[in-house]
């Protein structure tokens, strides 16, 4: 564990050093993140001028969902997208060989080798948004604690989905477009899932679990349960289901990766 943390520190310090060669990029990333945020908040404000609720969520409640969305997309940009695109490159150019020959878990290496600072502004702004809405809604410590656990479950789900998709490159080699799939998946979580039409609700819950990524952490903080009518579970039951689902997806991603590796043929010289 300590070994892995040490390696993680080296991974991130080296890849940040490589990225910091391009400082203008960071400035642009901050501006883009701010612009996106202002746009999203503005759209929501506009909506709430005439409406009291969005899918049953009040304005600050919907803002918690938006906060989680911004936070997750920041996380995706910082770690996931960076590494996902490298998996594809590794497979195509055959440099995956070097990773597989290191005495370290290849999934750990491939998932964490790179990080980019460009998503950090989003992470900060997402947290700020949740804190601001939380202050308006007067969240207590327990709300924050449950929110953090739900967020962790959401991140684990997003990661597992993302890595399983990346593992497909062993078979199909060219799967760069998966990055877009990942973004679209997140996009489904921008607003409370109850604001979507019924079909989409079903889709975002059972097909791609976007609802669990943003709406669920928000609602455990707020203390609602919008899933009851779909899953028929109480709040605590639902909580357990989501955590179990996240763990199950993670285990699946691990096995799937090992399974695909058996089919790795390695790009020829």
């Amino acid at each position: 564990m300590i070994k892995h943390l040490r390696i993680l520190g080296l991974f991130w310090s080296t890849s940040l050093a490589a990225e910091m060669e391009y400082r203008t990029n960071l400035a642009l990333a901050i501006i883009t993140a701010l612009g996106n945020l202002v746009g999203a908040v503005f759209a929501m404000k506009l909506f709430f001028i005439h409406q009291k609720t969005l899918g049953g969520y009040s304005e600050p409640e919907a803002m918690v969902v938006l906060g989680y969305f911004v936070l997750l997309s920041g996380f995706a940009n910082t770690v996931m997208v960076q590494n996902l695109s490298r998996i594809v490159t590794h497979v195509r150019e055959g440099t995956l060989d070097f990773v597989l020959l290191k005495p370290i878990d290849s999934q750990f290496w491939l998932s964490t080798r790179n990080c980019s600072p460009w998503g950090i502004p989003n992470i900060v702004l997402g947290l700020g948004l949740i804190a601001y809405a939380g202050w308006q809604l007067k969240f207590d410590a327990i709300a924050y604690l449950t929110g953090v656990i739900a967020l962790a479950a959401g991140l684990l789900m997003l990661y597992s989905l993302w890595f399983s998709l990346g593992a497909l490159s062993i078979w199909f080699v060219k799967v760069q477009n998966i990055t877009h799939v990942l973004y679209q998946l997140l996009e489904g979580g921008r607003f409370p899932f109850t604001a979507h039409p019924t079909f989409n609700r079903f889709f975002f819950t059972f097909v791609i679990p976007a609802a669990f990524l943003t709406t669920f952490p928000a609602q455990v903080m707020i203390g609602r349960n919008d899933f009851q009518q779909y899953l028929g579970a109480s709040n605590i039951g639902l909580y357990l289901i989501v955590v179990a689902m996240a763990v199950a997806m993670f285990i699946f991603a691990r096995y799937f990766w090992r399974f695909t590796l058996r089919h790795y043929t390695s790009a020829s010289s």
């Binding site: 080296t14 060989d97 070097f98 020959l101 290191k102 005495p103 370290i104 043929t265």
Partner: protein, 342 residues
């Protein structure tokens, strides 16, 4: 106790076959035809600790596939491999710490960063203590004559410097077994010599076992007392480098300086004539009758000088791989010839 053992090692690949043209592409998109390529066919050999073995074969002969099976990157279709008493494909940490793979056409160093950054990551991954790390880097820097190049971004290095840095990165954990796939690919003559010298020194100082593939015969003749030749996935020779000449070219070349122009037919009595040009004649003589033939030539022909040479090893090997000509005593002539027809 051999450090590398391969027993009937076999690898088949399933590859999609595509016809050229638009129609071929359409058909390929919807219905793929596959065929099985037998990249490596039941290859067996053993290598003892400390040996340097050259692995020869034309492109597509199955060299890299064999190396990848021995390093555990790909799963063999059949047969058994044991390296440092481990089954490679399990890729146990204990196994991976004892081997390394260097590929001349792929690099593990990060393009934008100094090599030192990647080396530190490797040190952490291989759990090398700081003082040991420093000592090994110093030693390898000296052997490879890299001086302070480790602190420059990799993209600023020349190809030769980059290869040497790759070698450093690959050897930091002091592996016992080195798999080198074309380590001198694309390097100029000086850099090639430097890499060769380094590999020989490394083998001597650390007793490391080296299995090396190369298209440059100079690499092989300089480093490898033993060569394995693979052709169409089959092992056609495993033995000493001089054995290659004896087995595949059991003749020597005689060059005669004659006092006066001599008739071709006269010279042909002594061996197979390669060329006759005025007073210079070249002929091939079977090894087993070399001595009596030379005696007869000296007694019977008006010569001023006589030179005996081995046919160049490059030529011998190139001829084996390109024409499949194998001598009569070879146990594999049919297979090689058949392989060539395919």
């Amino acid at each position: 106790m051999p450090i590398i053992e391969a027993e009937n090692l076999t690898k088949h690949f399933r590859v999609a076959v595509k016809q050229p043209g638009v129609w071929g592409t359409l058909k390929h998109t919807f219905k793929r035809k596959h065929r099985i390529v037998e990249a490596v066919k039941a290859v067996s050999f053993t290598i003892e600790p400390g040996e340097i073995v050259g692995f020869l074969g034309p492109n597509g002969a199955g060299k890299t596939t064999t190396l990848k099976m021995l390093t555990g990157l790909i799963h063999p279709t059949g047969g058994k491999a044991t390296v440092t008493e481990h089954v490679p494909f399990r890729r146990d940490a204990a196994f991976l710490k004892r081997i390394t793979l260097v590929m001349g056409n792929k690099q593990q160093l990060l393009w934008d960063l100094p090599a030192m950054d990647a080396l530190r990551v490797n040190a952490a991954v291989y759990e090398i203590a700081d003082d040991v790390f420093k000592q090994r880097v110093d030693e390898l820097v000296e052997m490879l004559e890299l001086s302070d190049l480790l602190y420059q971004p990799v993209r600023k290095l020349s190809l030769g410097e980059r290869m040497k840095t790759e070698l450093l990165a690959a050897l930091l954990h002091q592996p016992d077994v080195l798999f080198l796939d074309e380590p001198t690919l694309g390097l100029d003559v000086n850099a090639q010599t430097a890499v060769r010298r380094f590999l020989r020194d490394y083998n001597q100082t650390h007793g490391a076992t080296i299995l090396l593939t190369s298209h440059y015969m100079a690499d092989i003749t300089a480093l490898c007392p033993r060569v394995m030749m693979i052709h169409h996935g089959e092992m056609i020779h495993d033995g000493s480098l001089t054995g290659v000449i004896e087995r595949f070219a059991p003749y020597r070349e005689l060059m005669l300086d004659l006092e006066e122009p001599t008739d071709r037919d006269v010279i042909a009595q002594y061996g197979e004539v390669v060329s006759v040009d005025q007073q210079i004649a070249k002929l091939l003589v079977q090894r087993d009758v070399l001595k009596p033939t030379v005696q007869r030539v000296m007694e019977e022909l008006p010569i001023t000088d006589l030179t005996i040479t081995d046919p160049p090893i490059e030529d011998v090997i190139a001829r084996v791989f390109s024409t499949g000509i194998v001598t009569e005593d070879s146990p594999y002539p049919e297979e090689v010839a058949a392989g060539h027809d395919r």
